[in-house]
Symmetry: C2
Subunit: 199 residues, 2 copies
């Protein structure tokens, strides 16, 4: 059976339920789209994938194939099992939000990953009391030896993907990042859809 | 008027209310004690100091004198105005918690920074729905150019301090980290008190 390919619409979010042992594949369909990613325990969504606990777990600024991301209760939740994207996945930066776009000069509404997360969860009847720091799949935040960070462009070729194994029953949530001011989604300022499968 | 020096007891937490413009000084009394630090808006404690938003704000892996840490609503909350400690203050690692000590082989109870945070806030009648990633004052987590992290020993001399300016009315919370297994509080495994002033 071929897994259904689900669309994460441009500038929007999408969440799905996943069973322990299933594989989640996130596809960089057009090659320049960041996908903010969160995971929550299906049993209790206040247990969520934690970037700060994951760094303490694998002692690196970024995970690579073979590494497990863990929850705020220190349990593995997602293991990165395959990556054809070039391997730039940020775990340092907050999800974009309305205030962030305000600082960048946007007046009024702008789509943002924080709202996309909560809207996507709501479609599954799930609410969470905070916005965890996301795993920013395909997002390229280079660091230097002296600790300087910068907003890089994606390195993921079109059609490349990352694949995770679910280590518990969980809810995964994605946002096709609507950032069109910084070059995070490429220098064209165009934001696109992405896709995922669960199998 | 000399500001009162308040004790953060060894292995315990302490919180205090601070007005906009006041200075918070955290003293490494004995030189080897990490102080996990959090800040919350007095008006709405679900607005809290965010390490992931602060990295996006100052584009570095760690703040230095002159940098402002910002909230999860992207507003400056604490500005580092003076630092005699050597400057190692981690913003990458989660607060220690009971599960963390379980992974390190501890059976049953162990004091931990997460519980200390919530107990300290409770003394002020404040509850928050999650445990934000802390600013680990005096905690030395070196990184390498390839992104490897390690548990370093403190570099702060006894009596050294950091001083922050409060950028809004806020609640500050501290935990004298009870980590006695990793060398985060020095190789002796002894955990000590620390002190702070607000003026």
């Amino acid at each position: 059976m071929t897994a259904e390919t689900v669309t994460i619409p441009a500038r929007r979010g999408k969440a799905a339920r996943v069973r322990k042992g299933q594989r989640i594949t996130i596809i960089s369909t057009h090659g320049t789209q960041v996908v903010d990613t969160w995971a929550f325990s299906a049993e209790d969504p206040t247990e969520w994938m934690s970037m700060e606990a994951s760094r303490a777990w694998f002692l690196k600024l970024a995970g690579a194939v073979g590494d497990s991301y863990v929850t705020n209760r220190r349990r593995p939740i997602l293991t990165l099992v395959e990556d054809t994207s070039g391997g730039a996945h940020d775990m340092l930066m907050a999800a974009c939000d309305l205030q962030r776009y305000g600082l960048l000069g946007v007046k009024g509404h702008h789509d943002n990953c924080r709202d996309n997360l909560h809207a996507a969860l709501k479609e599954l009847g799930v609410t969470v009391p905070a916005t965890p720091s996301p795993l920013n799949v395909f997002m390229n935040i280079p660091w230097t030896a002296d600790g300087t960070l910068s907003w890089g462009e994606p390195v993921s070729p079109p059609g490349s993907y990352v694949r995770f194994r679910a280590e518990m029953d969980l809810i995964v949530a994605f946002s096709a990042c609507p950032q069109d001011i910084l070059p995070i989604n490429g220098r064209t300022g165009s934001t696109t859809e992405a896709h995922f499968t669960i199998e």
